[in-house]
């Protein structure tokens, strides 16, 4: 099955990437955008979803500074 893992910086953690994008937007004429936070999306094809949490904790996300959310997509 196809699995999406969304990884986001934890609330309150400094996100330099998000800040940089937020600062760049007005320069291009996009006003009124705030609280930009940048994470990442990992797509996986797995046969056994039971170990997904462990896999995310050990490799995909740094749980000290990131939260992750697993979305299992139906075939």
């Amino acid at each position: 099955m196809k699995v999406l893992v969304l990884i986001r910086p934890k609330q309150g953690i400094l996100d330099p990437q998000g800040q940089t994008v937020e600062r760049a937007l007005p320069a291009l004429g996009f006003e009124g955008v705030t609280d930009v936070r940048i994470g990442r999306l990992v797509e996986l094809e797995v046969t056994d979803p039971s170990k997904l949490d462990e896999l995310c904790e050990q490799l995909l996300a740094n749980t000290l500074i990131e939260d992750f959310e697993i979305q299992i997509q139906e075939d």
Binding site: K10, Q11, G12, I13, L14, D15, P16, Q19, T20, R23, N62, L64, I65, D67
Partner: protein
């Protein structure tokens, strides 16, 4: 007030939760004649912590010499500085051990960022970084993970901001398994007339905070003060991990230097541990003034931060400046051009009150001296241990192995193998000053601008520590660390001008740790006096302990030396065939606490031989002068793994072998250590023979390292095998 009376104070439990002792809390209550409120308690808990108040080490540190002819700025400022070729060379080493043990990438990165800001605060442009790292045994997956991520973090920050990482050292020992050490050193250059001090002066002057936004970063212990509505479910709202942003720091760097160049600042200070609390109170204490800080004017990254959170936040990439009112507009303009937030958050006041305001509301009001100077300083209760403190490491090298096999095993061991897999991740040449980088010479060499005489001077920098020897004999081992650092400088032709130290120890309330600390400081002081150099500043990191007890006592020494001519330097390896190889120095090798002893499963204990400091210094001078005159082309100090490893390292650099005959052929003679006291040198035969104290032992050339005894015994190793052993040793442990 007695401890019993303190017991009955309503606020005592919170104070204890924040790390203060009951007598300390009682003292605070006495000094300010009331119980501190939430904001004040948060400030006291940080400023009266070991990290800020040095309460267990301050009395011991008084032993260190802090005066020198070339000293421009010393202890008490953000970093020290010495004069070289008309420039101020600023430098300091600092630890970031505990954050790195939690999150090694960000911990190491923000450690680099923190020490950079210390140097920037002096108005110096950072030109080089060095680091000293300690991890548990590399067979442990956790140690390998810490190594990999810490190195990546150092590279991330240093490479991004454009400061060369030019040197360092890494050691592995089981005592660091749950408490790694990450010490970072920064070197910068400045115009001596523009060196910035941190003392706030001038009543009515404004306090300007500039740099990154303030968030809830690093609010660790103080988070117990958090308001009640944040329960466990909201743990995410209280992060303690600080994230480094090297590009923000680059802007802070350029803006700070521009502000100083334009003469817009009265004083400048970085925000590090304990954030605004520590920076503001230190500036006020140094200047003998009071400060009003209005936290309502601090730009925040998050909604709803409480005043105490703003005061203790450890958000990175921020600076605090004192500015005359007429120059505030100009300062804000410079910061805006560098895309930095800057805000006027307060005023220098008469008297000595540190007042924290929210608009017109006073939420904290305490005497600066109480915060900064009145923390009790403790006497240590040292006691030498009756038996060894550290367990024997696992043996992996049999005693019956012959010299050749022993040499290969040492070379391929994690503590001696080439650091190439690590330092190749660092930009070592950005800014184009690097004349000698790792694996090329014993110290890094950085060129300075060409002088009026048309000659380009340089500085040499080195960082060193040998904790196993310190464990055996704290005074002797720490002295050896100072001498080894000076020996590294001598190898490239440099004369030491000053040192900075980072004292990494366990819990000083334990008598044996206190004994290690006091005697190590004594050893450093003796070394400084012998070399005629001051300690310009440094850092103490205590309570480095794991479940099995304290880390090895780890004083780390960083040293800066002067070279009149950047082109008159040496290589740490043999450069051509047919040169004379000689030994210099009163080298008295022994296996006590050596790398070989560790590999054979022996604990770090035993008697170190006494050393003749004046003979050692004479050898340093002979090598330094020989390198400067061009007589010596190869100079390498004999350190871990002893003479055998030193010779092998000399052959590995350019793949040129040697054939030497030694008077003694024992394990101790070949692999015994006596750091900082002996050198391998090479050059033209006639020139080498003229070096005072040089004992010629052979010649360079050929494809083998050939070591013979006078009685005819010998062993030989192809240089290619030496190189393969050295190169593979650390790679095996990195992903």
């Amino acid at each position: 007030m007695s401890e019993q009376q303190a017991e009955s104070l309503p606020g005592v439990d919170r104070a204890v939760e924040l790390g203060l002792t009951k007598p300390e809390y009682a003292r605070i209550v006495e000094l300010i004649a009331r119980e501190p409120n939430e904001v004040e308690l948060a400030m006291f808990s940080l400023l009266w912590s070991e990290h800020c108040a040095y309460k267990h080490s301050k009395k011991v540190l008084r032993r260190l010499p802090t005066e020198g002819d070339r000293l421009l700025m010393g202890v008490g400022e953000n970093a020290g500085a010495v004069e070289v070729a008309g420039l101020a060379v600023a430098f300091k080493v600092e630890s970031h051990n505990h954050p790195s043990a939690v999150e090694p990438f960000q911990g190491a990165a923000t450690g680099v960022g923190g020490i950079l800001r210390d140097v920037i605060a002096l108005g110096a442009r950072p030109i080089a970084m060095l680091n000293s790292l300690r991890f548990g045994h590399p067979s442990s997956p956790r140690s390998r993970w810490l190594l990999d991520r810490a190195v990546a973090g150092i590279g991330h920050y240093g490479n991004s901001i454009g400061v060369a990482t030019v040197g360092g050292e890494i050691h592995f020992d089981p005592s660091y398994e749950s408490n790694c050490l990450i010490n970072a050193m920064c070197v910068g250059i400045a115009d001596p007339d523009r060196l910035m001090r941190c003392a706030a002066t001038g009543v009515g002057n404004r306090v300007i905070l500039f740099g990154a936004l303030t968030g809830r970063d690093g609010i660790g212990g103080a988070s117990v003060l958090a308001s009640a509505e944040l329960g466990d479910d909201d743990a995410d709202k209280r992060p303690t991990v600080q994230i480094g942003d090297p590009f923000a720091e680059k802007k802070v760097l350029e803006a700070s230097l521009e502000l100083i160049d334009a003469d817009l600042l009265v004083a400048l200070q970085d925000l590090g541990a304990a954030g605004l609390t520590s920076s503001a109170s230190e500036m006020a204490a140094q200047g003998g003034v009071g400060l009003d800080i209005d936290v309502a004017n601090v730009p925040l990254r998050e909604q709803g931060m409480e005043p105490f959170e703003i005061m203790v936040s450890e958000s990175q990439e921020r600076m605090l400046a004192i500015v005359e009112p007429s120059k505030v507009a100009a300062v804000l303009e410079v910061c805006e051009r560098w895309e930095l937030l800057a805000s006027d958050i307060g005023e220098v006041t008469e008297g000595d009150r540190m007042r924290i305001l929210v608009g017109d509301n006073v939420v904290g009001d305490i005497p600066v001296t109480t915060l900064v100077d009145d923390c009790p300083l403790y006497d240590l209760a040292p006691a030498p241990p009756e038996h060894g403190l550290y367990p024997a490491p696992p043996a992996d090298l049999p005693e019956e192995a012959d010299h050749r096999d022993t040499l290969i095993a040492l070379l391929s061991g994690a503590n001696i193998a080439s650091r190439r897999p690590v330092f190749q991740q660092y930009d070592q040449i950005v800014q184009a000053r690097t004349v000698r980088r790792p694996d090329e010479a014993d110290a890094a060499v950085l060129a300075l601008p060409v002088g009026e005489n048309g000659i380009r001077p340089a500085i040499a920098v080195s960082i060193d520590g040998n904790a196993r020897r310190v464990a055996a004999n704290p005074e002797g081992g720490a002295l050896e660390a100072v001498l080894e650092c000076a020996a590294n400088l001598a190898c490239v032709g440099a004369e030491p001008l000053g040192l900075t130290n980072c004292l990494n120890f366990g819990n000083p309330e334990k008598p044996h740790v206190a004994w290690q600390l006091i005697n190590s400081v004594e050893g450093i002081a003796v070394g400084c006096e012998a070399l005629g150099i001051p300690v310009v500043g440094g850092n103490v990191s205590l309570y480095n302990e794991g479940p099995d007890g304290p880390i090895l006592p780890t004083p780390v020494i960083g040293m800066v030396g002067e070279m009149p001519d950047a082109t008159k330097t040496s290589s740490s390896g043999f450069l051509t065939d047919g040169q004379a190889v000689a030994l210099v120095g009163p080298f008295s090798p022994n296996l006590v606490s050596s790398e070989l002893a560790a590999r054979r499963g022996q604990a770090p204990q035993g008697e170190l031989p006494s050393l003749d400091i004046s003979a050692v210094i004479a050898a340093h001078h002979a090598v330094r002068d020989g390198v400067r005159s061009g007589a010596i082309q190869t100079a390498h100090d004999i350190s871990e793994g002893g003479l055998g490893v030193a010779l092998a390292e000399c052959t590995a650099v350019a793949g040129i072998g040697c054939d030497v005959t030694l008077p003694e052929f024992t394990d101790a003679a070949l692999f015994g250590e006596s750091p900082g006291q002996g050198f391998v040198i090479a050059g033209d035969a006639a020139a080498i023979a003229a070096i005072p104290g040089a004992r010629v032992v052979g010649t360079t050339g050929g494809g083998n390292l050939v070591v013979s005894a006078e009685d005819g015994a010998s062993f030989s190793v192809p240089v290619a095998e030496v190189q393969a052993a050295r190169d593979g040793g650390l790679t095996a442990y990195l992903p």
